[in-house]
């Protein structure tokens, strides 16, 4: 029996952990102008109708619709010009019967007007008299008060990550300050006796710390706050101490083990000693990333990632990201950006295991992207630096054939 069959699937592992979590999130006041990428902490309602006045949606003439009834090119209606509506002003006249007013897109309709006829459907006959070539229905080419957003309506639901469009929408309503979720604090610990800081020259046998930086970059890209705990040697005392400090200071901890098996086991042991229920998941049927650990010390999440930088970063994209997003307060409306592409070669896989293959995208002459799998013996981090995204090979299959259309998750 392949060993992966005895492991939990990535989906089940994540569901198991999430079933234990019900985070209480705190919020803070944020200037809307500074809120790009932040997540709303409450439903945001409009305090006003939008628009607040009846607006024209075209350049043309405001009129009373029935005055244009039956008008056509061969039989125009003739209306008297009552004036021009200046942008940004309330018209200083009302419209009488058989009258019209020059109006620009966004302009305010005069009283009694109930439609706008487009400029191209009119002609100036003589000074003060306009020919109308088209019958216009009440409400045509204009918006009623509150038609876009009624007062009190929810304009942006809780749990929305704010994009340029939402920032603009809030400004349109004059909402210049909002409540956003306080970003969670996520601590990152690198362990391993062979691991040294990047600014030091490694002696033979040593390697520079990569995981603190790849994971830190990803976590801060997601919008959480990163707390770096540096590199901890592989022993019970040091590891336990830093985990205890981290649990006090952070909402989550991510520990990347040294690359040896004993280092990984030590991580799990220590996580079990720090609170209940301890380790929930130890080993996931996913490649790369099999030695992944999910643990809980009371209500704080600890995640153990493999020391191998490719495994650690792939698992961070696939399994850590949804956990962070829960603490970011993100609702269900989230998408993982991707590009559809055709696989350029066969990719073998083991049935029962979920594989994620790094691929590089190449745009074909037909505009269709090709996904070129990147293989490497060493799982060096440059494997991912060369890749544009990851392709999932689902557990039931034994691989994907060249030519298959796949969805490349961008990294």
């Amino acid at each position: 029996m392949p060993e992966f069959l005895s492991l939990i699937s990535p989906e089940d592992a994540l569901a198991l952990l999430l079933s234990h979590l019900d985070p209480v999130l705190s919020s803070e006041d944020t200037a809307t102008e500074q809120a790009l990428g932040k997540v709303t902490a409450e439903d945001i309602c409009s305090q006003q109708d939008l628009p607040e006045f009846r607006r024209s949606t075209v350049d043309g003439y405001a009129l009373i619709a029935r005055d244009s009834h039956g008008a056509s090119e061969s039989l125009p209606a003739y209306l008297e010009l009552a004036g021009e509506v200046l942008m940004g002003n309330t018209p200083d006249f009302d419209l009488g019967e058989k009258e019209c007013a020059l109006i620009h897109t966004g302009g305010m309709l005069p009283n009694h007007a109930n439609a706008v006829v487009m400029l191209e459907d009119t002609q100036v006959l003589e000074a003060g008299v306009i020919e109308i070539y088209r019958s216009t229905a009440p409400g045509e080419n204009m918006i009623e008060i509150g038609e876009d957003i009624p007062e009190g309506g929810i304009v942006i639901p809780k749990g929305t990550r704010l994009r340029p469009a939402e920032i603009g929408g809030l400004m349109a309503l004059g909402i210049t300050e909002i409540k956003t979720i306080t970003p969670p604090k996520i601590g990152i610990i690198s362990s391993g006796d062979e691991v040294i800081p990047p600014d030091r020259k490694p002696r033979p046998g040593e390697v520079r710390d990569i995981n603190s930086y790849t994971l830190g970059a990803l976590i801060s890209e997601l919008g959480a706050e990163v707390v770096h705990y540096g590199i901890i040697p592989d022993n019970r005392h040091d590891l336990k101490e830093i985990l205890q400090i981290g649990l006090k200071e952070c909402d989550h901890l991510i520990v990347t083990a040294g690359s040896s098996a004993s280092s990984r086991d030590l991580t799990a042991d220590m996580m079990n000693e720090l609170g209940d229920p301890g380790v929930l998941v130890h080993g996931v049927s996913i490649k790369p990333g099999k030695p992944t650990i999910f643990a809980l010390a009371d209500d704080k999440v600890m995640i153990g990632l493999p020391g191998n930088p490719v495994s650690a970063l792939v698992i961070a994209y696939i399994l850590v990201r949804p956990i962070v997003e829960l603490y970011l307060g993100l609702g269900t409306r989230k998408f993982y950006p991707s590009i559809p592409a055709k696989l350029t070669m066969n990719v073998p896989s083991q049935a029962g295991r979920e594989d994620w293959i790094p691929v590089r995208l190449i745009k074909g002459k037909d505009g269709v992207f090709q996904a070129n799998p990147i293989f490497g013996r060493s799982n060096l981090i440059f494997l991912l630096a060369k890749a544009d995204g990851l392709v999932r090979i689902p557990p039931p299959t034994t691989g994907l054939e060249a030519g298959t259309t796949v969805t490349v998750r961008l990294i």
Copy 2:
């Protein structure tokens, strides 16, 4: 003849502008740890081999390959245990014939060893003697010096936007500072007599400024520096003055016109007066965004966008973004994140015009996304706030049918 046929296509408009541009970009020193999202200003080469020593890729025993020649479960090879390679250390022994050494993933091979046999293919027979059940080839389960990255090799090409994987790769090589492109300065000017700042309560006929904030958010999301010039009334003098100031201080200017036609024409007139060649494009066969203007004053780009907030933001995503990316120094490896989805209803379009339709994504039971077009009379900014992305309707077609698989460009 539909009027759009006489306009330039978005593709040609962009190509025309880009053909005039050959920006000289400046660069600055950036700490690698702070370089996420920035763009490399030069090819980055490795100053060292990676790995710098021969490393094991598994947990097992380092050995001389020929000593395991012919070994199998029924006929194991017996090797003497010479010692254990400690993580982060140079082994303090060399391997002799018929000897092996316990080694962990990432450990340094002792001298004379040329392969590693995995732990699961071995067994400890008695203290100091290891049974090997598998014939091992030279080079198996190990990486040679420089196999990942040879000294002097280009590891990250110029024009790369740094993601977590690149940050990690640089750290692996001890490159803690790099040269990145200095973000371009992009000035944003809102014009229109009816436009007021968001913190003011509009009088009847006035609307709050949206475009400064949506465009500012998008530009800063892309990685450029935003310079806000606020709201300028629709007259020649004020507009020309602010354009002159902006041209001095910024690399580009983006002007959003008031929503009336006269305001848009004024923008083009002023752009023509400020330098050569002046207006290159005035009107593009795209919806929304037909009144888009591209102009050049000597070597500085000026972009005129429609005052309508939806048009302005859609054009910023579709046409302004590639221009900004040129000044960000981004190479050709850039992708516009998207989600494939099935259109839920027919969307009509006019042949000869490129349409971009806002859609909201809904995940179907089968895991396939459905793209629900969002229509709205007023082109209010909340149309885009409700949307997850945009769907392109290519110019030759007269629309897309329900059920068509489309690529939704996320916004």
